[in-house]
């Protein structure tokens, strides 16, 4: 069963798990060791890993993955409302619904490839967003978003537990998940590690190789007699389930779901995370997600007063224009920074951070033994 993972893979997997589990200690120096942001790292990391299974392996660029995230969130909150505050049935429900949703959308979208595919998925996501906003209001509670209320039936919980006062918190058999404790973080971290392991297995499996072959030359695959559609379908559904799981965790640590989770900006964000970290690499998407969420946290916290105090050592004449200029990029302007970083990455470093790391590493190698040209470090064109 573990045949197709090399020793190197196991080292990477164990190292990854160790870093994730020790994150509350390791991230202390950069001020990101509190559960709320660590949970975000894990959840968006999971989302990006799932997206990478589709985009990184097959090269199909979906612009509608946020729809699955939204479906997962709604399913989870409904499970909390109707049945129990336990997260296991909620997650199961999210996975089922996101999977079915991905099956339907994938069935139609995967009939076309390239740009058509991107546009179709974008259209579906916008359609879901529009419907969540308007027609499906009984299901989604429209603009306000779906929330827990005191009047929810919670059938299963009502049978076993006498309800306390106030809104209940989501639990894992007694362990509190929502509410900002470390329990929530370890739960999402466990999900991330499992998700990472599955993605690792997929990358190393014959199935993963098949997907990579589709990316490099789909026509040739077809000529050799493979029907590529089922493989693409499977990849699409798997990555949709990852997104649904991420949405479910998002709702588990903070039980509410709104339509804005399905908007194209959310889909764009996950694309950005994957690209920033490195498309088609295993760890890259998680790193990309963590970096974006970390800097979003820092940048959106800044405002002009904070900037003024940072640059207080400068004379007034210099400081004022500088602060004016920088305030474009912080606080509300965080999206602008994000867009610029996105463009810069696509233009200059299409392989993302992982490729940057490889380039630097190969530079050092070259310095070590000068007569050996560093072939592996050169950027390979994606297609």
């Amino acid at each position: 069963m573990f045949g197709n993972l090399s020793r190197q893979d196991w080292v990477m997997f164990l190292g990854f798990s160790a870093v994730v589990l020790l994150a509350p200690i390791l991230f202390q120096p950069i001020g990101a060791a509190y559960p709320a942001i660590l949970e975000k790292f894990c959840i968006f990391g999971l989302f990006a890993i799932g997206f990478n299974i589709l985009f990184g392996l097959t090269g199909y660029l979906s612009f509608g993955h946020a729809a699955f995230l939204g479906v997962g969130s709604y399913a989870t909150v409904w499970s909390f409302k109707l049945f129990t505050m336990n997260v296991i049935p909620a997650i199961a429900m999210s996975i089922i619904f996101a999977g079915i949703f991905a099956l339907v959308i994938g069935f139609i979208s995967l009939r076309r490839s390239g740009i058509y595919f991107s546009i179709l998925t974008l259209a579906f996501a916008q359609m879901s967003y529009n419907m969540a906003y308007s027609v499906l209001t009984p299901l989604t509670n429209g603009e306000t978003g779906l929330q827990l209320t005191l009047k929810d039936p919670r059938i299963v919980d009502a049978m076993f537990i006498t309800p306390g006062t106030g809104l209940p918190r989501s639990t894992l058999f007694g362990l509190e998940i929502s509410g900002g404790g470390l329990g929530g973080f370890y739960f999402t971290a466990a999900a991330l590690i499992i998700g990472f392991y599955i993605s690792l297995r997929i990358f190393r499996s014959p199935f993963g190789l098949m997907l990579k072959a589709i990316k490099s030359n789909q026509n040739r695959m077809r000529y050799t007699g493979f029907n590529t559609r089922p493989y693409l379908m499977a990849a699409f559904v798997i990555s949709g389930i990852y997104a649904g799981l991420a949405g479910s965790l998002m709702a588990a640590v903070d039980p509410l779901a709104g339509p804005e989770r399905m908007q194209w900006t959310a889909s764009g964000e996950v694309v950005l995370m994957t690209i920033l970290g490195g498309v088609g690499t295993l760890i890259g998407p998680v790193i990309g997600a963590a970096i974006i969420k970390y800097f979003e946290n820092i940048f959106s916290g800044f405002n002009e007063t904070a900037l003024n105090s940072v640059f207080s050592f400068l004379p007034h004449t210099l400081r004022d224009p500088l602060v004016k200029l920088l305030s474009l990029f912080v606080g509300e302007g965080w999206s602008l920074t994000l867009g610029l970083v996105f463009m810069a990455i696509v233009i200059f470093l299409p392989g993302g951070i992982m490729e940057g790391v490889r380039l630097i590493a190969s530079l050092f190698k070259k310095g070590g033994n000068g007569n050996k040209p560093a072939v592996s470090g050169h950027a390979q064109p994606a297609e």
């Binding site: 985009f55 090269g59 660029l61 612009f63 139609i108 009939r111 076309r112 490839s113 390239g114 740009i115 058509y116 991107s118 546009i119 179709l120 974008l122 259209a123 579906f124 916008q126 359609m127 529009n130 419907m131 308007s134 027609v135 499906l136 789909q218 026509n219 194209w264 764009g268 694309v271 690209i275 474009l328 509300e332 302007g333 999206s335 602008l336 994000l338 867009g339 610029l340 996105f342 463009m343 696509v346 233009i347 299409p350 994606a382 297609e383």
Partner: protein, 341 residues
């Protein structure tokens, strides 16, 4: 009967906007082979050209007049529009007609924006995979709309149509149907405006030598290059034209829909669907599908239909796109050999 005509008219003006944006998208895709996710941002920038022009025209000089008092007992502030102060009656007319007049400003501005965009960014992406093109233009769209948001705020800024056209036209009378079909003048103008722009673009491509070369380049860019024609330069101009078309669509649309920073992306998604339905690479298909989907959407938002299928107005366009793609994968008028896989 009246209701049907009214719905068709309602759909036509929105369809006009879709058709203009889709036309530019197709033009860029057909010539440069680039999918431009920033095309919606160009539409939005056009709309904000009109907003800026209007703001410039309505700049006011505030003077305090101590002889007159406000009801609160403070000296009254007298605001005089600078343009009116300088140009008198003509200034007033200018302010009134700020939306159509801003076309004159928008054409050079959009042309420059388009050419800078093509030269500075898109040119370097011809040889890159389509996914990279989508991603970089998507990033550009975010940047452009965030810049607009920074300077103009997040709220829609309503623009008034000239007072002469702010009423409703009795279209029924014009068509000789007797019964009154009220329809806003400005929307009627938008419809004719978009038809005119489409006509100009088609005439340019069909009847001028320049357009002929561009069409040849769409078919086979290398051969045209081998004939000694600087096809890259022509394509830059085509990108500029597409940018102007999107910008003008935005300028004239401001009285219909108050512009805000994310209007571009909203329209872009729909315009992509329009392009897909019309057939990638087919200019005629883009225009036809634009009007068709506009009309369909307007029919779907009728109360009679909404009561049968609730929410159909929100999703009709996407549904049509799905059906079209499943039944005729090349779209309504798609050319053979364009994006076949």
């Amino acid at each position: 009967m009246d209701a049907i005509i009214l719905q068709i008219l309602n759909g036509l003006d929105k369809g006009g906007a879709y058709a203009l944006i889709a036309l530019g998208l197709t033009l860029v895709f057909g010539t440069l082979g680039v999918v431009n996710f920033a095309h919606g941002a160009l539409f939005m920038l056009g709309a904000f050209c009109a907003v800026t022009f209007n703001k410039l025209l309505t700049l006011e000089k505030v003077t305090v007049d101590p002889t007159q008092l406000t009801p609160w007992g403070t000296p009254a502030e007298i605001k005089t529009s600078l343009v009116e102060a300088w140009l008198g009656e003509f200034g007033k007319v200018l302010v009134n007609y700020s939306v159509p007049v801003s076309i004159i400003v928008a054409i050079p501005v959009m042309l420059i924006i388009g050419i800078v965009m093509e030269r500075g960014l898109i040119r370097h992406f011809y040889k890159r995979p389509h996914a990279d093109q989508i991603l970089v233009t998507f990033g550009l769209a975010i940047v452009l709309q965030e810049i607009i948001k920074h300077f103009y705020g997040a709220n829609p800024i309503p623009q008034a149509a000239p007072t002469a056209f702010s009423g409703t036209a009795q279209v029924g009378m014009l068509l000789g149907l007797g019964d009154a079909i009220p329809y806003p003048w400005w929307r009627l103008i938008y419809l004719f405006f978009s038809l005119a722009i489409i006509g100009i673009v088609f005439a340019f491509l069909q009847f001028t030598t320049y357009g002929m070369v561009v069409r040849a380049g769409m078919r086979d860019r290398e051969t045209v290059g081998l004939l000694g024609i600087d096809i890259e330069r022509r394509f830059t101009v085509v990108f500029g034209i597409a940018s102007v078309v999107a910008g003008l669509a935005g300028v004239m649309y401001t009285p219909v829909l108050p512009p805000d920073y994310h209007m571009g992306m909203d329209f872009l998604v729909l315009s992509f669907v329009v392009v897909v339905v019309g057939g990638m690479g087919s200019l005629g298909g883009a225009v036809a599908a634009g009007f068709l989907l506009g009309i369909l959407q307007s029919f779907a938002s009728m109360n009679e239909i909404k009561s049968i299928i609730p929410g159909i107005d929100q999703i009709i366009i996407y549904l049509v796109a799905v059906v079209i793609l499943l039944t005729m994968p090349r779209g309504l008028m798609g050319r053979k050999g364009v994006m076949e896989d």
